[in-house]
Amino acid sequence: MNARDRILGKLRQHAPQTAKPLPDVGSWYATHRPLEAAAEKARRFRHFIELAHAEVHAVTAANWTETLHAVLKARAIDKLLVAEGTPHGDAALDALPPRGIECSVYDMAIEAWKSEMFNDTPAGLTAARAAIAETGTLILWPNALEPRLMSLVPPVHIVLLDSNKIYNTFFEAMSVEGWKNGLPTNSLLISGPSKTADIQQTLAYGAHGPKELIVLLQEGEA
């Protein structure tokens, strides 16, 4: 008998005879987290993510690349990693190089350019799939076009978020989107720049991930 069978055998021998009732998570949220209107959700999202040290800019579909340019200029950043083949990545590729910002793309496996990613990529742009108002949280589902390290390695992470995609709670987001039916390789909640309080409870930003998180909150018609 192997370890698996021995462990399962011990547990089965003593498992309770009767199952416990399935906890009703939905009704707890229905009672304790009233649904809010879009404007209120956007306000709450912004409040909490700013509390967590993120910078939020209100933008429109027409002007967001201008704000993106201004954000980079203000930090003297002249190179941005973008996701070619995504609408926002292609828009940045069109708009930024003529204005003096070099755009690099994630077009090969990380093994081929790890050193450049870690040492010569000052900023990255990704979209957020959605967001959560309750905690000021971005939801990202990295994929082949917009891989996982884009939102982690560059010291400045800029995120484009459509304000129509803000959920009240994490529970609402996973329920409405049916996450239980299948999750991607990696999915993420991000609620601010990387931080730590491991030295004498003193908060410091930029522990291992981005030192700055900048949200371009795109408002507009649903």
Binding site: A3, R4, R6, I7, L8, K10, R12, H14, A15, P16, K20, P21, L22, P23, V25, G26, W28, Y29, H32, A109, K114, S115, E134, T135, G136, T137, N143, A144, P147, R148, L149, L152, F170, F171, M174, S175, K180, L183, P184, T185, N186, S187, L188, L189, I190, S194, K195, T196, A197, D198, I199, Q200, Q201, T202, A204, G206, A207, H208, G209, P210
Partner: protein, 476 residues
């Protein structure tokens, strides 16, 4: 139970280590300050007592529901992870877990491992095993990195370096990190750690992590963190190995939001952590990063013993937030290292006996005033004080057949039992009580001046020359 060669300090040193901390005003101040800070941050996260109570009840119900189905859920998790391409391993003991992990590493000819924060990897002392096998195992959580540089162990499960001042860390970095000058600026110290570890994230072939929750229905491993090192360890290296205790499983994804909320609010008083990292598979064809292989090691190490007993099973509800230690008057005064076990504080006192046996941990069960603070703040309502009383009974009762725990009766002393039986006889019979108290008041001069621990800081105990009943009689 198999023998294993862990480096846990035996419980007999517990008193001496506790005394050393209690006598050290700097450490006392460090822990007091840190615990006050964490308690007030937690309290600020739960302004509404009704919300807190109902959420704790929901958290308790979720954990108990999932524990009741644990064997089925482990099989479901294994099936779904396997379908997703994650390789699942089972280990009964720390030795087995180390053998599995080192086997994976050596099978790839790898020599460099970066580690995200994992208390289970501390529990199996993976770093020792890796070092012995010639594999570099580098901690990447800032607190763990500091503790590892200093050659120590974590003193708190959430804030591993809570016992160190920034000046101590500044001296440590200046001494141990090449090319670094002394600075006690916290931002500068964190940047030093960041720069060292970023190089390591690029070089390491292996990333090791713990697991905060494993979701059976989707086959997903969830990691909670603020720094981003957990994401680095699980994304940059070619191989990701996760290790978890068998109890950290939930059936449904919807069980995660309430537990996650309870965890971060109870642990550090954050409404949410910076990152919540959900991993469901290795890199798929066409994806450009992420590990090519993901492994999960499921560790028993005594958990099935706790599971076998309905009351002790509640120990396994724990989500490792550390609120019980933050609120514990004993932990606050003696710190995490005094316990000598991987998990300190109240949760350590109820979980360690299952991992190490009561023979090694009997004394720990008595290191509690039973004030109840731990049970009151536990986000999943583990009745920690009740479990401590149960473990005391298991440890100090006479050894019997079919004990519920390894090491049952280890603290039993025939003399002590006889004394208590005598005490019970005296206090159970009014006539005997009167006789003995009369004798006591007459023979009070025989009481020794030195009465062990009592007289080290107090005047000796001595029966009064007149009993209360005699005084009352005189008055009337």
């Amino acid at each position: 139970m198999s023998e294993h060669t862990l480096h846990f300090k035996p419980a007999e040193g517990f008193r001496a280590r506790s005394k050393a901390v209690v006598d050290n005003p700097f450490l006392r101040q460090s822990f007091r300050g840190a615990m006050d800070f964490l308690m007030s941050k937690r309290a600020a996260q739960f302004p509404d007592p009704e919300e807190l109570e109902s959420l704790r009840s929901l958290g308790e119900a979720i954990r108990q529901y999932n524990l009741a189905k644990l064997p089925d859920l482990l099989e479901q998790l294994e099936a779904n992870l396997t379908r997703n391409g994650v390789k699942v391993h089972w280990a009964e003991t720390p030795d087995e877990a180390n053998t599995i992990i080192l086997g994976i590493i050596q099978g790839h000819g790898a020599t460099k491992m970066v580690k995200g924060k994992s208390m289970v990897s501390e529990e199996i002392e993976l770093n020792h095993a890796a070092e012995a096998a010639g594999i570099e195992a580098l901690e990447s959580d800032m607190g763990e990195y500091i503790v590892q540089l200093a050659g120590e162990k974590p003193s708190h499960i959430i804030m591993p370096a809570i016992h160190k001042t920034k000046e101590e860390i500044a001296r440590l970095f200046a001494e141990k990190v090449p090319g670094v000058d002394y600075t006690d600026n916290v931002d500068a110290l964190i940047q030093i750690g960041r720069n060292v570890l970023r190089r390591k994230f690029q070089e390491a072939e292996i990333g090791l992590s713990g697991v905060n929750f494993a979701v059976a229905e989707t086959g997903t491993l969830c990691l909670v963190e603020n720094e981003g090192n957990g994401r680095m360890c699980t994304t940059a290296p070619a191989i990701h190995i996760a290790i978890t205790g068998i109890e950290k499983i939930v059936e449904k994804l919807e069980h995660i939001p309430p537990l996650y909320s309870l965890l971060t609010r109870s642990a550090t008083g954050q409404n949410i952590s910076t990152y919540f990292n959900m991993i469901s598979s290795p890199r798929k064809p066409g994806e450009k990063d992420g590990p090519e292989e993901v492994h999960l090691v499921l560790l028993d190490n005594g958990r099935s013993q706790a599971y076998a007993d309905e009351q002790l099973r509640k120990t396994l509800q724990c989500i490792r937030c550390g609120a019980c230690m933050n609120h514990c008057p004993v932990y606050t005064r003696i710190g995490g290292h005094a316990y000598g076990t991987t998990y300190p504080g109240p949760i350590g006192k109820i979980v360690s006996p299952h991992m190490l046996g009561l023979d090694a941990t009997a004394g720990l069960t008595t290191a509690s005033s039973l004030c109840g603070a731990c049970g009151e703040v536990c986000p999943v309502k583990i009745p920690i004080p009740e479990l401590l009383v149960r473990l005391r009974n298991e440890a100090f009762s006479a050894p019997h057949a079919n004990p519920a725990m390894r090491g049952q009766g280890a603290g039993h002393s025939a003399l002590q039992s006889a004394i208590w039986r005598g005490w019970a006889a005296v206090y159970g019979s009014p006539a005997l009580y009167r006789a003995v108290s009369w004798l006591g008041s007459r023979l009070r001069f025989l009481v020794p001046r030195r009465q062990g621990g009592w007289t080290s800081v107090r005047t000796p105990l001595q029966p009064a020359p007149k009993r209360l009943r005699d005084l009352l009689k005189d008055r009337n």
